[in-house]
């Protein structure tokens, strides 16, 4: 085995992969959230459609999209592999576990939260990404992306699903954000409190903004 594969398949290396891909997904969330928040201008989706149009045709964005998808896939596959191998490290389980005495429930449930997110993502990507990239519904001018959103969120089922997705995202981030820094070795009495605060703020704010979108559209606040 070369030293690169040896490192990346070690317990520390696999964690590093989770941290680096996780942080790049966090960076993506900022962009995604900023663009979608344009709908709150309530200008009939005008600004939002323009931003979406730019994202769809900018070469740099299209190249980053490939990287993003690769990062997402690696994060999912590596996460599932870690979950499986970690689970095998205690073949006989305890009869009584008092997890709440030493850790938060969401830090112990990253696999579950991640799986919920994955289910949400499949539906979400089907709703918007597949429609805008792989059909001519939007590029052909039949509908704008904003109209597509309005249609999807007219139905209460996706709204509920999206809110649950955002809630899973919030808890996933609440642990994942600061955890990524710890894994990369960034733990320092001066900076760690800052990272933790930033992480908590981010984990609440971003999913809150995202969750507000389907709700606001469903209730007709944004048209």
């Amino acid at each position: 085995m070369s030293w690169v594969t040896k490192t990346l398949t070690s317990s520390l290396g696999r964690k590093l992969i989770m941290a680096v891909t996780g942080l790049s997904l966090i960076a993506f969330l900022v962009v995604h959230c900023a663009i979608n928040a344009c709908i709150f201008l309530n200008d009939g989706g005008h600004t939002f459609n323009e931003a979406a149009e730019f994202m769809a045709h900018n070469l740099f964005i299209r190249i980053s999209e490939v990287g993003l998808m690769a990062g997402l896939l690696i994060h999912i596959v590596d996460g599932l592999m870690l979950w499986k191998s970690n689970n095998e490290k205690r073949p006989v389980k305890y009869a009584v576990v008092k997890g709440e005495a030493n850790s938060t429930w969401y830090s112990r449930s990253m696999g579950l939260l991640g799986s919920l997110l994955l289910i949400f993502l499949v539906v979400h990507l089907r709703h918007f990404w597949v429609v805008s990239r792989f059909t001519d519904v939007i590029s052909g001018g039949q509908k704008t992306l904003f109209q597509e959103m309005v249609e999807v969120f007219a139905n209460p089922i996706p709204v509920v699903l999206y809110v649950v997705g955002c809630l899973s995202l919030a808890y996933h981030l609440l642990h994942g954000f600061q955890s990524a820094f710890q894994t990369m070795g960034w733990n320092h009495p001066k900076y760690t409190p800052f990272v933790k605060c930033l992480g908590a703020g981010f984990s609440i704010l971003i999913p809150l903004i995202f969750a507000a979108m389907p709700i606001a559209m469903h209730l007709g606040w944004i048209k």
């Binding site: 070690s10 970690n86 490290k89 009869a95 008092k98 005495a101 030493n102 830090s107």
Partner: protein
Amino acid sequence: MNLTLKVWRQKNANSEGNFQDYKVAGVSEDMSFLEMFDVLNERLINEGDSPVAFDHDCREGICGMCSMYINGEPHGPNKGVTTCQLHMRSFKDGDTITVEPWRAQAFPIVKDLAVNRSAFDRIISAGGYVSVNTGNAQDANALPIGKDHADEAFAAAACIGCGACVAACKNASAMLFTSAKISQLALLPQGQAERTMRAEKMVAQMDTEGFGACTNTGACEAECPKGISLENIARMNREYYGAVLSSK
């Protein structure tokens, strides 16, 4: 106090284990948890039963032997103590207490509550040492060590190798232990000679032994009787990444 104990009984590593209930009467609240087990064991011996096997040695919180997973927590409900320092006043009359061994693939059960923790010894022998040259010992004061580094190394060296971190971790990860052992040497001038080789070898050994990968839940730090900090795990990560990138 009168208590009911649900204790894991297992003949040896290969046999199936199960819980057995024992009523223990007349327990003084000043007894340690181990002394309460002594009372039970004395009775079991008198009745011709086999006593519950458990590890212990110093009974003053420094050897790290007394591994018991009590009511869902290693070393029981109190923070910063080992089982031998856990006193029965932490329980109430009539309580039912579940006592299990450390459960981890890398810590096979020897008998009942006693587990084999030699995986830790093998992690240490993989690199948790400093080479000392023969000849006269040099003057200790000739090696300047910053107070903050000395303090941090000392705090890491407080690890008694009890394995509560592994027992508490949902992944049975040994990273708190390994990182404490890496840190106590990486922070001191005496540890520099083998520094890169140490991080690489100890992490590799930790993986070989079958411990899990850390997911930063912090359960280890919360349950560690010696208050070993998660900062050590971050340091181990830095040491390891630095080592694999620079070693030849």
